[in-house]
């Protein structure tokens, strides 16, 4: 559930593979002003050191399901930013 500051919402962001190495961490909590979308969270990541190297439209998953940049956040979600898959 939202916490941090009153009037903001919080999402837990997970980074994997090359993205985690590019930004230097694999997990961060972001506080955003509502209404907020996946795209807003991405903008915040891009402002961090190394964040400019994220592609314009990375694959994202919200609570384990694929989500587009305009998916809205209500707070408390797990948002994963997924590099191109290379399993198998």
């Amino acid at each position: 559930m939202p916490s941090a500051t009153v009037g903001t919402l919080t999402v837990r962001v997970l980074l994997f593979g090359s993205y985690a190495e590019t930004l230097g961490f694999d997990e961060i909590e972001l506080s955003l002003d509502p209404p907020a979308t996946v795209g807003d969270a991405l903008e915040r990541l891009r402002a961090l050191p190394g964040g400019e190297r994220l592609p314009p439209k990375p694959l994202c998953a919200l609570n384990l399901s694929q989500a587009s940049a305009d998916a809205s956040l209500s707070g408390g979600e797990e948002l994963a930013i997924l590099p191109p898959l290379s399993g198998g």
Partner: protein, 169 residues
């Protein structure tokens, strides 16, 4: 559990799906190759978004089992793999070999396309690259093994994923 950090034993997967009424078993084993794009590979590291990868593997297996009359076993290795080790193994048993072959093929294609797993290749020259993150055309930052990483290249993840899907058809 579809992901494992232990070596995969194909025979035990076969034993999981095989039964006296499902006599035909088709299998696939994907192992670590010693070369990639003309470079010598020393080893691989696989990482995953574990809860989503588990859920996606379960969905793929269920899809295959409902679409064809078969039983599916699937394992994907995570962590450090040496050359020749199995990264992915699939066993599909059916009373008809047609269905076993088709379902087995479906599972490996969907695993490659949909399961959030990432492969990091460590090369003989000491460089390291996340496969798919810019690919062979991408920038590779070479240097101390284990600390270096290639750039994400010019393509977005979504573009690369749809490219992969196109290639696999």
């Amino acid at each position: 559990m579809y992901l494992t950090s232990d070596p995969i034993d194909l025979s035990s997967l076969v034993a999981l799906v095989h039964s006296p009424s499902r006599g035909g078993v088709a299998c696939f084993l994907g192992t670590v190759r010693n070369h990639q794009g003309g470079r010598d590979v020393l080893r691989l590291d696989y990482s995953a978004y574990t809860p989503m990868a588990e859920a996606e593997c379960a969905r793929i297996a269920a899809e295959a089992e409902s679409r064809w009359q078969c039983a599916v076993a699937l394992r994907h290795r995570i962590g450090r793999l040496e050359i020749g080790e199995a990264a992915v193994a699939i066993a599909v048993a059916s009373s008809h070999r047609d269905e076993a072959f088709v379902a087995c093929r479906y599972v490996i294609e969907e695993v490659k396309r949909r399961v959030p797993i990432w492969k990091r290749e460590v090369y003989a020259d000491g460089s390291v690259e996340w496969v798919g993150a810019g690919g062979e055309a991408g920038k590779t930052v070479s240097g101390e093994a284990g600390k270096t990483v290639s750039g994400a290249g010019d393509k977005t993840g979504a573009e690369l994923i749809s490219q992969r899907a196109g290639e696999s058809r």
